[in-house]
Amino acid sequence: MKLANSDTAWGAPAKFFHWVSAALIFTQFALGWVAVSTRMSPTKLNLFVWHKSIGMLILALVVLRLLWRVFNIAPSLPADTPAWERAVAHASHALLYVLMIAMPMAGWIINSAANIPFSIFWAIPLPAIAAPDKHLAELAALAHLSLFIALAGLLVLHVGAALRHHFVKKNNLLIRMLPALKWLK
């Protein structure tokens, strides 16, 4: 198992970060909506604890992931990639990272401004990063929702691009991000 990335391949940690984050983010979409639409009940409170806890876990993961990323090279894009596609790829990846930080930060602000007592996974009390303020809580919730729409839209593009590389351009871009085959067997 290779740890470091090379010019042609992602190391195991990069793949781990990518797919664990992807899985957790999709879980968050579902959890967020279910939690919001459940009527007030102990179940709703629990769904929110899961949602907020996993969100904070994503925030921690993305920080580690970015550290790993800056101390590593990234595989280069296929040689035949046009300049505008390279630019879009880089910009969209950067934006994905920004959103992966902004989403949980907005959530954290909602939680602080709404002043809901909350401990991550029922264990680590989350400090407030804003004073109780109903108006700010509503603003942050609007930001959280808008960021979600932006992230969902960008992911459609991201996944679409990955599938295009695989099925249309028939290069190994998607394959090289997948876990090594011996793991899958």
Partner: protein
């Protein structure tokens, strides 16, 4: 027998001559409570309450403590939570806007020289339960400070009914509610 009764009355009069009537200074007094929400402490205050006291620190027998609490003044510093606790499952503001504590049985507590226990009755959400309130008494130049607290089980007062009655496990709101107060009293 008649003589004894006279003596008893005299004695009582003598006693009450030393016991003073006390009134609360609301701006310098505080009534706080705390519960647990998803295993995290959730504090709150009752912004409006009043304390009346007939008390002699040297001879607590014959004292009387009356506290009224405006339940609808509860504030947990969260607009969302404040809205929830007003409902029928929690404090039920519409039917039970006020709580009361009355005690005519205040005794010294072994906890310390200035410690007392008020054995009394708490009426909350229409339910009456015996409650012991532990407090300390500190005379100051302009009055006295009464400080203390007690713990109640919210279930005894039907605070949190239906699925909220559960007090164990993840989604639960804790069973115990701790109440703390610091009351500034002035001679009435």
């Amino acid at each position: 027998m008649k003589k004894f009764a006279c003596l008893a009355i005299l004695f009582a009069l003598f006693q009450s001559a030393h016991a003073a009537d006390w009134k609360m200074d609301p701006s310098a007094s505080k009534l706080e409570f705390a519960t647990t929400f998803e295993k995290t402490v959730a504090p709150g205050v009752f912004k409006e309450f009043d304390t009346r006291l007939h008390f002699d620190a040297a001879k607590p027998a014959g004292s009387r403590l009356d506290v009224t609490i405006k339940i609808t003044s509860a504030d947990m510093s969260s607009a969302d939570i404040n809205k929830e606790i007003a409902g029928a499952e929690w404090f039920d503001y519409a039917l039970h806007p006020q709580a009361e504590f009355h005690s005519t049985d205040i005794v010294r507590s072994p906890a310390g020289p200035q410690s007392y226990i008020a054995h009394g009755t708490l009426t909350l959400k229409g339910v009456q339960q015996p409650v012991d309130v532990l407090f300390t008494w500190n005379a100051t130049t302009d009055g006295a400070i009464m400080e203390g607290g007690f713990t109640v089980k919210r279930g005894q007062f039907n605070i949190g009914t239906g699925e909220w009655a559960v007090t164990e496990g993840k989604g639960a709101i804790g069973a115990d509610v701790t109440v703390k107060f610091r009351v500034q009293l002035r001679k009435a």
